[in-house]
Amino acid sequence: MSTQPNLMVIENTIPVDHDQLLTELGRDQALDMLATMCLIRAFEEKAEDLFARGMVHGTMHLSIGQEAVAVGATRAMQKGDYLLNHHRGHGHCLAWGSDVNLMMAEFLGKETGYCRGRGGSMHIANVEANNLGANGIVGGGIPISVGVGLSIKMRRTHQVCLTIFGDGAANEGAFHESLNMASIWDLPVVYLCENNQYAMSMPMTKAFNIERISQRACAYGIPGITVDGNDVLAVYAAVRQAAERARSGQGPTLVEAVTYRWRGHSKSDRQAYRTREEVKAWQQRDPIRRFAGLLGLSEQELAVYISEAQRKVEAAVAFAQASPEPDVSTILEGVYA
């Protein structure tokens, strides 16, 4: 067990000029990004609350504390682009512009949910919006990104596929096969490693013999970028740069956003592998408060965003709870097209 709080300094490997980025985004979009981060936080806090009250059938993987990655990355993408993400995926899905009602309905296993209650927390997809789904298998979406990239190239549509996975996935064999294939064919894919520093209980420091996961990019002959994953503008800048490279036909980039998961891996996690001090220290780097501070918002002004997010989530819970359960007579549907 680690007794030393893990408080690594995260240095951006690309220049991140906050003032310049805020000017480019404009204040309205920046505030909307903050609102989305608050919505993700509110959704997951509510999910946790519903679970604690015994109202959730399955488990869940919360990304509280990681909101800057989801929002910064998705804002760097364009309409029509593709998303593949991972099991800790509520945030990416919401940031992609998904309907919070349909997400909550899916979370509660209702027929009105994005996947008719068949997928649940780990498998939310919205193919109509080119959200090709969260994945319950660590690294499972990474090989799929190769096909999406090939398809974009063949159809000549200039789309980009944002593929988000965790630090654990970077140690799967499929990561190696896929990044190599994407590189040799210059596929329009952004590989975003959302490094929250623990693969369940395995700390990154024990699972890698390198300082930065983005160092692996050199093995594939592609750029590697590491940024502070609790700085939404840094993530935005990195993914935007990677997406521009992809869209212009120059191939994939491996972006690493270093962040921290405030909650356990899933609901069965007692977190014996890290100290409370470490978690508390990382909570001081709250991505929402940091961004609100950067935008010059007061506590009261931030509270307005938070309560608006909570209101939307409460409405979503009401929608989901009023929604019908899937009818057992439909159980066989949807296996084959």
Partner: protein, 328 residues
């Protein structure tokens, strides 16, 4: 009708579908200039270019993932796994991704691709290049499994598989590649999920797959000389399985033998036997329903050992004779 080989039939199906549908492309190891380890894609890179005949690194999970991702976004990929054995390296993508995506996403996505792979023994390729793993995939809802036994079926089933909106595991057999048979030049489809009565007879039903259909036919010729009339049914598609002709046939003959190359335990034969004994055909049985399948061993290298590891014509003759004569 013109006769071509099984591998030529496959190549023709690929070429005709690629010419007709710009979303169809090929991806696999050494399928370009090399033409595929067994020549199935020979000449196609010259005809369609390297953008549609894509040589990959040795990355079987990547090949499967490439098929899935492209299929999800509007293409109809046809992947090649060089030997069926190597599909073990693609299993996560096939079983946990391809097969599940549609259901898991509430029936709102489709994954139309074909993954071709040669299985089977008989070439001295030993234990890691001779597997018959089709039943692994039969066990997975969301996948379809096709196993053609003739050039005619290979072409018609492959075209139908490419046009199907689901992931299809297309299992070819190395020993069948050079077998010749009548194949129409134009495009045609054999619907997936349709068993084929290959030969009619009144004394015994043999259900056989892939190369065992050919061996069962040879056995039937010998048995006919002894006055035993064998009916042979080739399911052609293992999943979905059309068991209606099988049950009807067993009601007629009262005897059934299932023959496949894969290891008997946990093999497809068990499913066929179960379908028969669970059906009304049970009341018509005059003998136990038997399976003739691969021995419970990996495929050995030595020519004689390899020969004896899987059913041969004489084994089928002997087993059929026992069933008809009631000596078992």
């Amino acid at each position: 009708m013109r006769e071509i080989t099984y591998v030529e039939a496959i190549r023709e199906a690929l070429a005709q579908k690629m010419a007709e549908d710009p979303t169809v492309f090929l991806i696999g190891e050494d399928i370009g200039i090399y033409g595929g380890a067994f020549g199935a894609t020979a000449g196609l890179i010259e005809q369609f270019g390297e953008e549609r005949v894509i040589d990959t690194p040795i990355s079987e999970a990547g090949i499967a993932g490439a098929c899935i991702g492209a299929a999800l976004t509007g293409m109809r990929p046809v992947g090649e796994i060089q030997f069926m054995d190597f599909v073990t390296l693609s299993m996560e993508q096939l079983v946990l991704q391809a097969a599940k995506i549609r259901f898991m996403f509430g029936g709102k996505a489709k994954v139309p691709f074909v993954l071709r792979m040669p299985g089977g023994s008989g070439t001295g390729a030993a234990a890691q290049h001779s597997e018959s793993l089709e039943n692994w995939f039969v066990h997975v809802p969301g996948l379809k499994v096709v196993m053609p036994s003739t050039p005619y079926d290979a072409k018609g089933l492959l075209i139908a598989a490419i046009e199907d909106d689901n992931p299809v595991i297309f299992v070819e057999h190395k020993l069948l590649y050079k077998v010749k048979g009548p194949v129409p030049e134009e495009m045609y489809r054999i619907p997936l999920g349709q068993s084929h009565i290959v030969r009619e007879g009144k004394d015994l039903t043999i259900v056989a797959t892939s190369v065992m259909v050919q061996r069962a036919l040879q056995a039937a010729e010998q048995l006919q000389a002894e006055g035993i009339e064998v009916e042979i049914i080739d399911p052609r598609t293992l999943r979905p399985l059309d068991d209606v002709p099988i049950i009807r046939s067993v009601k007629k003959t009262g005897r059934a033998l299932v023959v496949h190359e894969a290891v008997k335990m946990g093999g497809f034969g068990g499913e066929i036997v179960a379908r028969i004994v669970e059906s009304e055909a049970f009341d018509y049985l005059e003998a136990p329903v038997r399976r003739l399948a691969g021995l419970d061993i990996p495929i050995p290298y030595n020519r004689t050992l390899e020969y004896h590891a899987v059913p041969q014509v004489e084994n089928i003759v002997e087993e059929a004779r026992k069933l008809v004569k009631g000596v078992y």
